[in-house]
């Protein structure tokens, strides 16, 4: 009996086990995703389409946030700034040596961010194309809802292509969502892409609205970008029309008086450690983190939002680290001792007022002296603008040794006129404190914390319209637009006879530091000089045929940027150089290599140009 029981038990067990094996039919092997969303099942609702647009919006952050932000790379190819890291090889200083297709593969803070613009640019295009290609997979409450979403996606795609075509020239034009591997891409002519995005933006202008949250695409932003695209195409009247729709639309206006409740600018008197408040002014208020996205602020057309609590760029913008001088080093007191300390251990923690800068973004003499020719300019008054002499000697070594220079203002030279700062490139320059000062509650010492940022601001729209008028020859209207900006900043107006591209660029430099993508704009203007044959203020006439050999950008940089002009050599021995062909950046070798069945063209002046094939004349 016992034995039989065992037999039964054994048989049952084995039957059970084999039964499990039989259970394994094909359905058993279907993969079941548990913790992630799957595209075709997900992009079917309005909410998902909006989430796809949020990806486009979030992608805008990469340009201004994080270590060595890409915007600096845009700046250092122009007359306003250079890379200021002077203690090693690698930073983009000797551009002739270091800007090669091979070396732009890095997303490396010690080099340049050309590749990041390329890579993130096409990521943004991918996000936008997802919305555009799937727009009709969703049922909307109204056609207007659909169009508003499509219009925003058109804007995001157009913005990326506007930058890419001015950074890199002819580039692959991808206007559809990619759902299967493809390795056959060809460059498309820049004008073809610009014409396509102009059409898209024309539609978007009809569809988008200004009654949206800050951070979302506004009608104003669409019109602003359309102004730029029309300018790039030489459609000056269309550019003026687009700009008018923003300026005269009623939604936006320049902020002309103080607003908001931000703390006022301050200064520290020598011998003390406590900041003393200075009077508030509109320029200061306009750039306070707490004021940028408030309803009272009518100047911002498109905002990048970054507040405490979200996942990306967790520790803030770090703008003070990037663009404030490396004032904690290389500065001696006139008594020959270490003068400054940017850490958090001195009694006077000066880094809480200015941040711990590393002097990576070094303004040129043009940007910190030459353009500040109006003594009343609010953008350059004490409290808004910082000079090195406003900083105090604060190293504790001075205090402990009873040195008389403790808590005195910095000196560049000793009594005999000798330099006592050992690295004036990196450690000695002035900066627009009203823009860079972003209190930081996550890093110690402060590096520049969370803040929103203006991607498009009405002040630039005025300057774009001024430019359009100038190209048309209407210098009076151009001067009027420039003066809107100047008068708001408490400057004297300029006369129509003074208006040229150079003076417009000067005003842009004063107003749009760390906001505008300056190299993109200069390249756009260089194209226009070459296309229109209009003589530049330097008397030169340029042609498209020799664009990479002679262009406005290069001549302007060599005229205004003292570093490239003089071939300044850093302490490390790196020489600042630039060449005409830098008007277009090199296509990264990695990107050309990865496209093994097609051909992405290289720009003239760079290795690999000889392998080019004629660019496409239409969107593929």
């Amino acid at each position: 009996m016992e034995k039989i029981k065992k037999y039964i038990a054994g048989t049952a067990l084995i039957t059970l086990a084999i039964g499990m094996g039989i259970g394994c039919k094909k359905a058993y092997l279907e993969p079941q995703p548990l913790s992630f969303y799957e595209p075709s099942a997900t992009y079917t609702t309005v909410a998902a389409m909006r989430a796809a647009l949020a990806a486009c919006a979030r992608n805008l952050r990469f340009e201004y946030y994080g270590g060595n932000p890409p915007i600096l790379t845009e700046m250092l190819f122009t007359e306003i700034a250079v890379e200021g890291t002077t203690d090693k090889a690698g930073p983009a200083q000797d551009l002739n040596l270091l800007i090669t297709p091979d070396l732009v593969e890095f997303n490396n803070d010690d080099r340049n961010k050309i590749y990041v613009y390329w890579d993130e640019g096409y990521k943004g295009i991918k996000y936008a194309n997802t919305v555009i290609s799937r727009i009709d997979n969703v049922t909307y409450a109204s056609p207007a809802e659909r169009n508003a979403i499509l219009g925003a996606a058109y804007f995001h795609r157009a913005l990326r292509y506007y930058k890419l075509t001015h950074q890199f020239g002819d580039v692959p034009a991808i206007m559809k969502e990619i759902t299967a591997p493809s390795l056959e891409f060809y460059s498309t002519k820049r004008e073809v892409i610009l014409n396509k995005i102009k059409l898209d933006l024309d539609s978007a202008l009809l569809w988008t609205s200004d009654a949206v949250n800050r951070g979302e695409v506004t009608k104003g932003a669409v019109a602003h970008l359309l102004t730029k695209v029309n300018l790039a195409l030489g459609n000056f009247d269309a550019a003026i029309t687009a700009a008018n729709s923003v300026i005269n639309g009623g939604t936006y206006s320049l902020m002309k008086s103080t607003f908001g409740s931000a703390a006022p600018p301050t200064t520290v008197m020598p011998g003390t450690r406590t900041p003393v408040p200075l009077p508030r002014n509109v320029i200061w208020d306009l750039h306070r983190p707490e004021n940028k996205s408030v309803a009272a602020n009518r100047e911002g057309l498109l905002m990048i939002i970054s507040r405490f609590g979200d996942g990306q760029f967790n520790t803030g913008m770090t703008i003070m680290r990037q663009a404030v001088p490396f004032w904690g080093s290389n500065i001696s007191s006139p008594t020959g001792k270490k003068g400054t300390n940017d850490n958090i251990n001195p009694e006077f923690i000066q880094s809480n007022l200015y941040g711990r800068g590393i002097g990576r973004t070094r303004p040129s003499d043009y940007a910190q002296y030459d353009i500040w020719n109006d003594p009343n300019d609010l953008r350059h008054i004490p409290g808004n603008w910082m000079k090195m002499e406003d900083i105090l000697y604060n190293d504790m070594g001075l205090k402990t040794s009873g040195d008389p220079w403790y808590l005195k203002n910095l000196q560049l030279r000793n009594v005999n006129g000798g330099l006592i700062c050992t690295d004036t490139i990196r450690s000695w320059f002035g900066w627009p404190h009203y823009k860079l000062f972003v209190p930081d509650f996550e890093n110690s010492p402060m590096q520049g914390g969370h803040t929103d940022w203006y991607l498009f601001r009405l002040a630039e729209t005025y300057l774009l319209r001024a430019e359009a008028y100038f190209w048309k020859g209407d210098v009076a209207s151009a001067a009027a637009d420039i003066n809107e900006i100047r008068i708001r900043a408490n400057c004297a107006p300029i006369s129509p006879s003074a208006v040229n591209i150079g003076t417009i660029l000067d005003e842009r430099a004063r107003e749009l530091f760390f906001e505008e993508t300056r190299k993109t704009e200069l390249t756009r203007m260089s194209y226009l000089f070459a296309k229109t044959g209009k003589a530049a203020e330097n008397g030169k006439v340029y042609t498209l045929a020799r664009f990479s050999d002679e262009n406005y950008l290069y001549d302007r940089v060599m005229d205004k940027n003292n570093f490239y002009k003089k071939g300044v050599v850093t302490n490390y021995g790196a020489k600042y150089t630039i060449s005409p062909y830098h008007v277009l950046w090199p296509i990264p070798t990695r990107s050309i290599n990865g496209n093994s069945n097609g051909r992405i063209n290289q720009n003239k002046g760079y290795t690999g140009f000889e392998n080019n094939v004629p660019p496409l004349e239409a969107i593929p």
Binding site: G10, I14, T15, L16, A17, I18, M20, G21, I22, G23, C24, Y28, L29, E30, P31, Q32, L34, P39, A48, A51, A52, A55, A57, R58, K88, A89, G90, L97, D102, Y122, Y127, N129, P172, L183, F185, A211, R214, G215, E216, S293, A295, I305, F308, G309, S332, G336, N343, N345, G418, L419, E442, S444, P445, N571, Y572, G573, T589, R590, S591, S596
Partner: protein
Amino acid sequence: MKKMFFRPQRAKFSYCFGLLFLCTFLLLPNLFAQNNRTVSGVITDVKKVPLQGVSVVIKGSARGASTDQNGKFVLSEVPANGVLVVSYTGMNPQEVSITNKTAIVVIMAEGVNTLNEVVMVGYGTRQKRDVTGAVAQVKATQLENENPQSIQDVLRGNVPGLSVTSSPNAKGGGNLLVRGRASINAGTSPLIVVDGVIYPGDLSDINPNDIATVDVLKDASSAAVFGAKAASGVILVTTKKGNGSKPTITFNTNVGLAKLAMDEPLYDGPGFVSWRTAALNSINANARPFQYDDPRKLPADISEAQWKAYDNSNPTGDAVDIWLNRLRMFSIEKDNYKLGRSTNWYDMMFQTGLRNDHTVSISGKKEDVSYYMSANHTLNEGFIVGDKFSTFRIRINLEAKAAKFMSVGLNLQFADRDESQVPVSWQQMVNASPYGQKFRPDGVTLRDSPNDDIGNNTNPFLDNTYQNRLQKSNTLFGSIYLKGNLPFGFSYQTNFTPNFEFFKFFNGRSAKDFRVSVRRGVATRRDQSTFNWQVDNLLMWNGSVGEHRMDATVLVNAEKFQQWNTQMENEGFDPNDNLSYHNIGAGIKPVISSNDERSTGDALMARFNYSFRDRYLLTTSVRRDGYSAFGLQNPRATFPSIGVGWVFSKEKFARAEWLGYGKLRASWGINGNRDIGRYSALSDLSTGKYQFITPSGQVILVSQLFVNRLQNSGLKWERTESYNLGLDYSILKDRISGSIDAYRRSTRDLLINRLLPDVTGFTNVLTNLGEVQNKGIEVSISTLNMKRQHFTWRSTLNFTMNRNQIKKLYGPTPDYDATGKVIGQSDKNDVANRWFIGQDIDVIWDLRVLGIWQQNEAAEAAKFGVRPGDFKIEDLNKDGKFSDADRQFLGYRNPRSQWTFRNDFTFNNFDFSFMLYSNLGQKEEFNQAKNNLGFVDRQNSYQFPFWTPENPINDYARLSSNNGSANFNVYRSTSFVRLSTVAVSYSLPPSLLTRANIQSLKLYLNVNNLAVYQPNWNFWDAEFRNNPPGDRTVVPPPRYFTFGINLTL
């Protein structure tokens, strides 16, 4: 699962067949009684010491017995003309004919001939003699004196064709690679099988003291029974089983020391000052003479006033102050310099760690129950301060005979692993100034930075002091089985193998750490649990007709994996973060996330072995596998194999006195690789948060969505087809034996992350493309060099050589001429990934370093934007620029050949052994030669040579050298020879022990990593990496001294 059990059975034929067979034979009683007798005997070694646990099997049957602690056995129902096969690990087996005998005495001799060993072949065992594939076995018991701390230690150097990397951590371990890298993007770790079932857990959870043998299946034929998972080889671990009627209790206890094995000194205070002087002279292109030198030692022609005027220093200022300021020293550095007080950070990073490893086991066999139980506690301190590892492991192996035809068993393993260690950040010691200090003036609070320069160097003790971590894994791995013999030569086995893993990672970064002080503390809690199970049903048969012997195995298998992961993070703890991660809700910025995964698989396998006259051997198998990661279109794949063997030494023409044994083997087979992410074939959407501001000024969180991965529904198995030719030999009366294998493995349909043009917005897509080939030879020679009455000396030499080559990549694409016309087709290299057709996967393709630009070459150097002292790079196409056109093949990262030489000596009761091994021909990046890593003007440095005009060397650059426009690495050979283990042991003579009722008592002493010779490498030990192959950072190497006692009662 329940549902599955009782699902209506619309079974396929094969299943029914199996079921029918099993049921039929289960219900048949054993009808065949035999007219036989009982045999008993004693088995001893040559010293007449009784051997316990010797296997005595009736030849031609599965029945047998094993000896008790007195070396005795009793075996009933032995056929009258039977032959008993007596085998014991490490001894030459014997066949004893028992015609007319009922009592026998067998003396066993230690053997070097491994041919008679029983090896695991996957779902069964075979005698090595009968194997047709390339199988290598390591007997862990023979390595006892060396006290291996992990399976990796057991295998390292002991199996030709298997490379095992070394880890510097207290945990130990390393990565395993069989016969070269065959896959580009899928995993290359071999499949681990423990006691016949696939082991998904962490290798460190297996107590090496529990291991009896480890078998490595290297060729496709032997591994084919594991089909889809076997392409990277299979490692079969067999744990100890109980035998002997009296319980055997073994204590193995050892204590050891971990020390830094090699010095890589940093500059001390004065050395640091002169190095910094040289660095600043080199950095500052326009440095004035002696500008950075000690003003008290200026040459006569430079006055102090002139020297001060170089940078307009205060003429009345203190010259030393000015000098130290020029050297960029901070206040504390200056103070300490003047006081002559410096800190030796280097010595503070390393310690003599204490290691403890204790195992107690009890095993035996009582009537129908055999048991083996062990408990182990390991507590290791590393040689890096703060590095620790501890684990508590239990194993229970039980087997009971439930009926004549059925045994039930359980192999259970539990581990409690603690990896909460937060070692000091030893890498920071290079940044820390020797004139900095560890503590603030109060003497107890850590400084944020040794020299108050937090932008560049942080205190190496910050993490160690301010991170509160709990990282624990509890794993329970078991196999419950049922097996037995059936009539007509059939037998069966059913395994159910559950595996549970519970993982916790709780970490709190204290607000006292200045890096998170303004965030008021940061804490993480991660919980992950895993449950996976497998079921194997096996039916086996063996039989013989005349001189034909056959056996067959059929397997039905199913598996399922499930994992649940939950994580929460928070920061901004209020009122303070004193509760660390214990009160995660007290923060203000909670982030929660989760990730759950699931996969399923199944398999059918059949194997057939045939031999004729024990001379002609055939093994063939086929396996069909299913796996959900490929479930969209290709859920299943089939993997066949065949192997043949010929024991030519049994042929008449080959009978020679010197030739003891010779067998030729040939095999072919296909294995699969499925080692990719469970969802890699699917497209997924990345989620995250962004913020908008409403018109009323409120911040709202919005979700973002974008396509992160391109779908590839056609994704399928990677297939490795291999050919193996082998020779097993034993000559000169077993004085020399071993094997030679040659193989070629072609991996096709590689699971490869194909690079996509970045304009797509995707970096790559996982797809099946290309072909990689590995071919190589493995030679193993074991010799008995000397055999005297009291002395024996044995050696083993292993040699391995593997060559790897990419044969195909993405398939032909059009070629164009200069005008854009198509002129043909070819398969293109993937230059972006550095994969080249015809080259090794790990080939180095880079710019060639020619040497250093010297003083007389300044003008030439300037053309490349550099100056004397910088590296001179070959401009291959002479265009004055550096690009891919200048890149060349410069060598290989993988060893071109490897050898191991092991020697074992026995002198009376002493055993002595040592092992040497060597990797030859591989290269590694040595960018330290550039002397420009980090901020040379703000930190300390290792003592590397550097170029100066006065020291115009050609292999190291000047301090803070300039790479110019060249994107290059410096490479050096990392060939080495290592004396890896030296072990000595003393066994007390049995005569002393028997009175104390002790079976054996052994004392041993060993040293691990005693010496290394690496002629071309001088930055730590090139073999020791944190986490190869991904992380190639070279780290300090450990050396272990161990003293242990092994006591058996």
